[in-house]
Symmetry: C2
Subunit: 357 residues, 2 copies
């Protein structure tokens, strides 16, 4: 079902495509770089597969091409930005760079963004900070799909939390939803006609449910039920902890930015209202940076070197797998689903863009 496509050709294709929507050459390069990074990292759910969704968002008016972002409130260490419906990737690179500039000047920078759109892979932004020897943190809310403990109605989103900290030989790069799984995983089970694992999802009445098709349909129709928070349904495995983490992501991205919380996101045809949070910390404000980075590298190496579980021969630290996969794919090929290729060709034809891959 997948075809191997030359990575550099996919980059060029996407840049041509985004320019056709009216984005500048530089903007198209940024959007493409975020998008393809997901494929390079092996996180296909956030990569080229998303082009159709972005096409719909741009053509439906959810995304405003050429939107000017606006700083609503600012201090030496903070800024609250209104994205004015800009493409998520553009305002997010801008937001993290602003946080990084504040961190370099004042030790720490925190930027909230409201009225934005889907921003792709969160670790793209945290790693921008880590590459300049800063700790990067980012969060985003999304359309509600996660049901609070003891509830039957989705109130928070996938609400991913990401953090990157410089280390050798691999940056520590954490990027994970606060749900037990993202929605894409349920779609894979539906496609394969397999029952969901227990503790993943709820039906419209708030009963545990392993019927992937029913749960996904309910999510699409906003008919009730949805996905469990990290830790699963109820409290036995700590579902209340994941539920709290998802609220924390809404707090930083939506509440303090004055934007829409997850339960109001994607409720209008021309406005998603997605909110983000970006933070950069110059960890030199706590001591000698070289020594701190060495401490982190040593700790991660000790984890990788620790005893393996029965049947396993490797312990990964976060970001390690992705770094290895990117090295392999960047000057080679990435796997693209044949259905995605068809969609890409159709979009290209509609916009009069050269499809050669």
């Amino acid at each position: 079902m997948n075809k191997q496509i030359d990575t550099q050709k996919v980059f060029s294709f996407c840049e041509r495509l985004f320019q056709a929507y009216g984005f500048s050459a530089n903007e198209s390069k940024i959007i493409t770089d975020v998008l393809i990074r997901a494929d390079l990292y092996g996180i296909e759910s956030h990569g080229i597969h998303r082009l159709v969704r972005y096409h719909e968002e741009i053509t439906s008016g959810q995304v405003t091409v050429g939107a000017k972002t606006q700083i609503i409130h600012e201090t030496a260490i903070s800024a609250a930005v209104d994205a004015n419906k800009a493409m998520g990737q553009l305002v997010s690179v801008e937001g993290m760079k602003l946080a990084m500039e504040k961190a370099r000047n004042s030790g720490c920078g925190m930027v909230t963004v409201r009225n934005s759109n889907h921003y792709g892979i969160a670790s793209y932004y945290t790693e921008l900070a880590a590459r300049e020897d800063l700790i990067g943190v980012c969060m985003t809310n999304t359309e509600a799909i996660c049901v609070p403990t003891f509830g039957s109605q989705a109130m928070t989103g996938t609400n991913a939390l990401a953090l990157a900290m410089p280390a050798d030989p691999f940056v520590f790069s954490y990027d994970a939803s606060t749900t037990v799984v993202p929605r894409g995983k349920l779609e894979v089970y539906r496609k394969n006609g397999e029952p969901l694992p227990h503790n993943w999802a709820l039906d419209q009445d708030g009963k545990p449910c392993t019927d992937a098709a029913l749960v996904v349909d309910n999510i699409i129709k906003k008919a009730g039920g949805g996905i469990a928070p990290l830790g699963g349904l109820g409290t036995l495995h700590g579902g209340h902890k994941g539920y709290g983490l998802s609220v924390i992501v809404d707090l930083f991205s939506a509440v303090i930015s004055g934007g829409l919380t997850s339960n109001y996101v994607n409720r209008k045809p021309d406005h998603t209202g997605i909110c983000h949070y970006f933070m950069a910390i110059d960890y030199g404000i706590f001591g000698d940076k070289k020594a701190i980075k060495e401490n982190m590298s040593k700790f991660l190496q000790e984890i990788r070197d620790s005893k393996k579980a029965h049947g396993h021969n490797r312990i990964y630290t976060h970001g390690e797998k992705e770094t290895e996969m990117m090295a392999e794919r960047l000057n080679g090929t990435i796997p693209v689903n044949e259905k995605t290729l068809e969609e890409m060709q159709k979009i290209a034809t509609g916009l009069g863009v050269d499809y050669s891959l």
Copy 2:
């Protein structure tokens, strides 16, 4: 097995006891307040039940009575503190207050603490900040009991993460370990002779294990195995996410403070080496505080009001249960285990302290 004891008498008893170790009247009051708060909140594992452990730590030299803490590194928004083996509660109140002062002056304050000891209930410190209309964050590492995904050796601690944000009528107060359960839960299963739920723990070979006695014994003997991260064993339910969160807690508490990571904590008879992180944010740096607090209150109320799951009639937000229980217990009684009462009497007798409760 529990007796109801007058809350104010327990307060007085603990204050007398800590003064007998050599702490000042004010220090004894602070330690007691943190300790009893756990009982008031219904979190018995961190309350008066811990007196024996504190007794051992103080008399063995892990805790230094009268220790002077030292600021190693400082900026307008940060400080790195060496606790010099002070009582965890004392350096933690000091650390959070320093973070709060910096937040009031500069918008944000971040304080790392190394060479400390167990600090009790984390939400005590985050709520100090919330009570003064700031966001409070705190983290602590502990002795390694949590096994990384695909590993068989504990490398991180319970590594709790806490955050409090002002809201009406209940402060949002999140306080949770990054393990699927804390060690105390396993001890309850062992005491009751019940098998552990699947996905909670591993034996010394890294095989899934439901034998509570074996897992607890292995933890005590540092023989291998331990507790799964939040999300459980393997990756199916997101165990790699909890594992990453536990590393993040070690990053902020131990790595950037130049202290000991969890895998080195409690390895010497006279030094635990526990590390903490305290952060306060004046959320007015992002906009109008009144409007932001109202947004948070509204979002939490919408969650509480959302549809309940089959068989449930209430959705709690974090901190709600604890606030209610404290109101009930503060001027009434708290339940204390009879065995704990015996231990308290024994300690009191040994120190020549009046035991009347």
